[in-house]
């Protein structure tokens, strides 16, 4: 949209009147701290997003947000809200944009123990809500970004999948009642909140606008501002205040007596999928998370030097079809039962347990199976070489810390999601992620396989990290109903060639997921994403654009990472299809 600069001055004064002068600024140093964003390099080739905000404002209440949005409508000022604000999609995508930083709205409004939900404001992090929920024997879903990030943003505005999805579903599905300041400045109460004043459901009784407000992928801040929402909570069988042991970077939790981790390895993608289905059917697991070998190694080391040494042993790459399973239970008998069932499924699928919270002698059979697989892959001499190198690198860590310790560290990382960023940013400083459709287990596996093929040429060109091509991360959801595996690619953002390569890789991946019918790739945001995916998806972007037109007639809610207005997106998609 064209910004009417003449009324800017009075807009600023009105905004200042709403929040007070200490909570609004247009100072260049502060504007640039919102312009710098991870993944900006994929657009501009630099650390800076394409547009510096015009001003940044810090409201403290829904009423203030509503007043701000009304001023924006009146003066045709585009606005973009962020909460914890991570990645370029949170930054302005147009000139002259007001960045609404929701940092001051950081309260947990309530935790309804009986009905198992929490009501939160935008700046409540996963870490904050989880700590409070656990005190009541409950747990929340924390998306893959980690427990530093906003729960509300993930539930209302993006596609938030996290480690514990097996038992806690994913962020979009955990969304119950919502308070929404629409692009025109109306406050809508969705779900039961709109009908009963209570937050317990996102759909009826009361208006369900789930499809309009977020759909599958979320609007990335392009359709107003979400100021409060309720999130579903789940049972937590661990201690109410888990004791943290160790010191940074090596922390773990004590007292997880009936919460154990099992690193399960299968022999092929097929048996991996088979295992995932059976595990889901059994409904015994709290977590079933797939970390590629590269991330598994990152999880046990304290430095990149250690990482490279272990990686070069080729030990972990020899066991790529792995899944970290966490079993939890409310009683000893149930725990024993669930553990037994897990072992049965592992045996049934011809898999093995590489390590677990408490290693038992019966695991010798798994060791033999592992040796056999190694021999099959590398020959006898090769297997001995891999084992020798692994003993010298990984063995050192196991000797120092113990296998049980590594398992406990992994359990803590899965549950608390405190080290998610370590696992990926240490490989170069940035990453891009693609595929990731929420689909059947078979479709997720197909995506993982295709991701490797698409990535390999970029590894050969030296622009993406050489992770063998496989860095498919994801989990099973709702005890097997769904799975997602996203293909992650690490690169160094300080290298412009690498950044450009990462962007190109993402586009190739979108096209591959479309052409190979792998499911709706979660890069389908912004006009470019819609353009690339529209062929096979019944022109869904037209609906998005129509919704955007209807809810945002003045076009002030910055939708650059969501969808443009109908005529603009249609022209762009038509153009793309011609080329």
């Amino acid at each position: 949209m064209t910004v009417q600069t003449a009324s800017r001055e009075s807009a600023y004064l009105e905004l200042e009147h709403i929040v007070g002068p200490e909570h609004i600024t247009s100072s260049p140093v502060i504007m640039d701290s919102y312009t710098f964003q991870f993944n900006a390099d994929n657009i501009t080739g630099t650390n800076w997003g394409p547009f510096r905000p015009w001003a940044v404002i810090l409201p403290e209440s829904t009423r203030q947000v509503q007043a701000i949005v009304r001023v924006c409508n009146e003066h045709e000022v585009p606005f973009k809200a962020i909460s914890t604000g991570w990645a370029i999609m949170g930054a302005p995508s147009c000139e002259g944009c007001l960045q609404i930083d929701l940092r001051r709205m950081n309260h947990i409004i309530e935790i309804d123990e009986e009905n198992m939900y929490a009501v939160v404001e935008p700046y409540v992090s996963g870490a904050a809500l989880q700590a409070e929920a656990m005190k009541k024997g409950l747990n929340c879903h924390i998306h893959g970004a980690g427990s530093n990030a906003s729960l509300l943003a993930n539930a209302t505005s993006v596609c938030g999948q996290g480690n514990t999805g097996m038992s806690t579903s994913h962020s979009n599905r955990n969304l119950l009642g919502v308070e929404w300041v629409t692009p025109t400045g109306e406050v809508l109460h969705l779900g039961s909140l709109g009908q009963t004043g209570r937050w317990f459901t996102g759909d009826g009784p009361g208006p369900s606008l789930r499809g309009a407000m977020r759909g599958f992928l979320g609007a990335f801040g392009g359709i107003g501002v979400f100021t409060r929402c309720a999130l579903k909570l789940y049972p937590w069988y661990g201690p109410r205040e888990p004791e943290v042991k160790g010191t940074t970077p090596d922390y773990w939790l004590e007292g997880l007596d009936r919460i154990h981790v099992f690193q399960v390895v299968l022999e092929s993608w097929d048996s991996f999928a088979d295992f995932c289905y059976k595990l889901g059917e059994a409904e015994i697991a709290m977590v079933a998370c797939r970390n590629a070998p590269v991330v598994a190694v990152a999880g046990v080391v304290d430095s990149n030097e250690e990482f490279v040494e272990i990686w070069e042993s080729e030990y972990f790459q020899s066991f790529p079809y792995a899944l970290s399973v966490v079993i939890d239970a409310g009683s000893d008998a149930e725990f024993a039962h669930r553990t037994r069932v897990l072992h049965d499924i592992v045996d049934d699928c011809g898999g093995l347990i590489q390590f677990a919270t408490k290693t038992r002698p019966s695991y010798i059979k798994y060791q033999l199976r592992m040796l056999n697989w190694l021999r099959k892959q590398h020959g006898t001499v090769g297997a001995v070489r891999v084992l020798y190198r692994a003993a010298r690198s990984f063995g050192k860590i196991v000797h120092e810390k113990g296998m049980d310790h590594l398992a406990r560290t992994m359990a803590a990382a899965m549950i608390k999601a405190h080290a998610n960023a370590r696992a990926i940013f240490r490989f170069g400083g940035s990453f891009i992620t693609t595929f990731g459709a929420l689909e059947t287990i078979d479709a997720a596996v197909a995506g993982a396989k295709r991701g490797i093929e698409v990535k390999k040429p970029y590894i050969e060109r030296g622009v993406l990290m050489d992770d063998t091509g496989d860095n498919a991360w994801g989990t099973i959801y709702e005890q097997g109903a769904l799975m997602h595996l996203e293909e992650v690619a690490a690169y160094d953002p300080s290298d412009p060639e690498a950044a450009a390569g990462a962007t190109r890789f993402m586009i190739d991946a979108i096209v591959a997921s479309r052409d190979d019918h792998i499911g709706f790739c979660f890069n389908g945001f912004s006009d470019l994403g819609h353009g690339l995916l529209s062929d096979q998806t019944s022109g869904y972007y037209r609906w998005l654009a129509a919704l955007k037109d209807a809810f945002d007639p003045a076009g002030v809610s910055d939708g650059g990472y969501y969808v443009s207005r109908s005529e603009e997106v249609t022209a762009l998609v038509d153009g793309l299809q011609k080329h």
């Binding site: 991570w86 930083d101 030097e305 960023a421 240490r426 170069g428 300080s494």
Partner: protein, 431 residues
């Protein structure tokens, strides 16, 4: 200037910051309560992203790339920060970056280009230059606290251990008792201890944190040469600021022929080895506040010279391998062990402790430039202490003591505040 104090030395770190905001929070697994998630006093108060460490890294990059001009807002962002290093610990929980070094380099850059520091910092720097203390007191005033302490005065006499009081414990009348008690305690244990009296110099720490690295280097080099000449085996200091800089920064300036020991560790050693006996009950419940400069910022200097290499296309490794200072090797156990040895005393911990302790808000020149910032941070810390339900806060740093005292005075809790040596003296039967 030491290349590591230069901003462009960190250009890659600036570009590899991922805007994750971890530096705003304590390490996430340590979050035990929604009320106590924050680690950074600066962003806790100012809220705009630029005030967290990541935001300051962006400011530094923007400045280096000429996107912004230095102005008053930049100075506010850079100097409204207690350089407490909480951000550094949290960032390094997941990343191998050097945010705190960048904050220091950014200040040094502003000072060396004539933009910084703030006018309120000038008297401190002038005090160090002209009087060898930050309080602009005459040099003769510095030795007064030890006049009747019956302790050797170096270099006229010689001693195995030099007790280094620091500017504040020497010159702040409310706090000189700490220096006197520490020396008395050492003497009672038969330690061969001496002081420098009015010859005691400023350690230079405030010059470093404010960004005048030229002055700091000058002070540090002269101090190291003097301490070496004294022939001492150990330098013991009660001041966390002095200890932090001598342990973490001096070794990069010159070779030291003596060991630097914080008074709390020295006392712990004396207690453990029976040099002093804690026999008198101190019936009190207390909580312990970890001073940043005794904790995460006192981690010993780790020398490293080498080059950055890339493996597997993008993975940054160092040749030779580089060990990062993650704040874990600070002095955390010694004060707690001393408190545990005091009969009748019970220690209850706050929610943010040790490497992820919340700063009292006094450091980095903020107490002089932004007193209201320092007071708000102190109030936050006092509130956290109050929540433990104890009677007193114990700490071991003159800056923390002065600022927490202001924080307590601004409230109504009636909590008391002690230096660790006060408690030890009482447990020895003194007052």
């Amino acid at each position: 200037m030491n290349p590591r104090h230069k901003l462009d030395y960190y250009e890659k770190d600036l570009k590899r910051c991922c805007h994750c905001s971890m530096c705003k929070f304590i390490p996430l697994i340590q979050v035990k309560d929604a009320r106590y998630t924050q680690v950074c006093p600066a962003i806790s108060q100012k809220d705009f992203h630029a005030y967290c460490a990541g935001g300051k890294l962006h400011a530094a990059l923007s400045l280096l790339e000429g996107r912004i001009e230095p102005d008053a807002d930049l100075l506010d962002v850079v100097y409204r920060c207690s350089t407490c290093g909480g951000c550094d610990v949290s960032c390094k929980h997941n990343r191998d970056l050097e945010p705190l070094e960048v904050l220091f380099a950014l200040r040094a850059h502003l000072v060396s280009t004539g933009v910084g520091p703030l006018p309120e910092h000038e008297p401190i720097l002038m005090g160090i230059r002209n009087y060898d203390n930050v309080w602009q007191q005459p040099r003769q005033a510095r030795g007064r606290w030890a006049k009747d302490a019956g302790v050797k005065v170096l270099p006229k006499q010689s001693a195995e251990v030099l007790y280094f009081a620091g500017c504040t414990y020497s010159l702040n009348r409310q706090l000189t008792g700490v220096a006197r008690k520490t020396v008395a305690l050492m003497k009672s244990a038969g330690v061969d201890v001496g002081v420098l009296g009015e010859e005691e110099p400023c350690c230079g720490s405030p010059a470093f944190t404010i960004g005048d690295h030229e002055l700091f280097m000058e002070k540090a080099a002269a101090n190291i040469a003097m301490f070496n000449r004294l022939g001492i085996k150990r330098l013991v200091t009660s001041c966390a600021g002095c200890f932090g800089v001598m342990s973490g920064k001096y070794p990069a300036v010159g070779d030291m022929s003596f060991e630097v020991v914080p008074a709390v560790s020295f006392i712990e050693e004396l207690v453990r080895e029976g040099g002093i006996r804690l026999t008198h009950p101190v019936n009190m419940t207390v909580t312990y506040h970890d001073p940043c400069h005794l904790g995460r910022q006192s981690e010993p200097y780790i020398p490293w010279e080498g080059r950055e290499l890339k493996k597997l296309n993008s993975v940054v490794v160092h040749d030779p391998p580089k060990e990062y200072r993650r704040g874990t090797k600070g002095v955390y156990d010694a004060p707690r062990e001393v408190l545990a040895a005091v009969p009748g005393l019970t220690l209850t911990e706050m929610k943010r402790i040790r490497e992820y302790s919340f700063c009292c808000g006094s450091g980095g020149g903020v107490k002089s430039a932004f007193p209201e910032f320092a007071l708000t941070a102190a109030r936050e810390r006092v509130a956290e202490a109050e929540e433990t339900g104890v009677r007193a806060i114990v700490t071991a740093c003159p800056w923390c003591e002065a600022n927490l005292a202001d924080g307590l005075a601004a409230g109504e809790s009636g909590m008391e505040l002690f230096d660790l040596v006060d408690i030890v003296t009482r447990a020895m039967g003194g007052e």
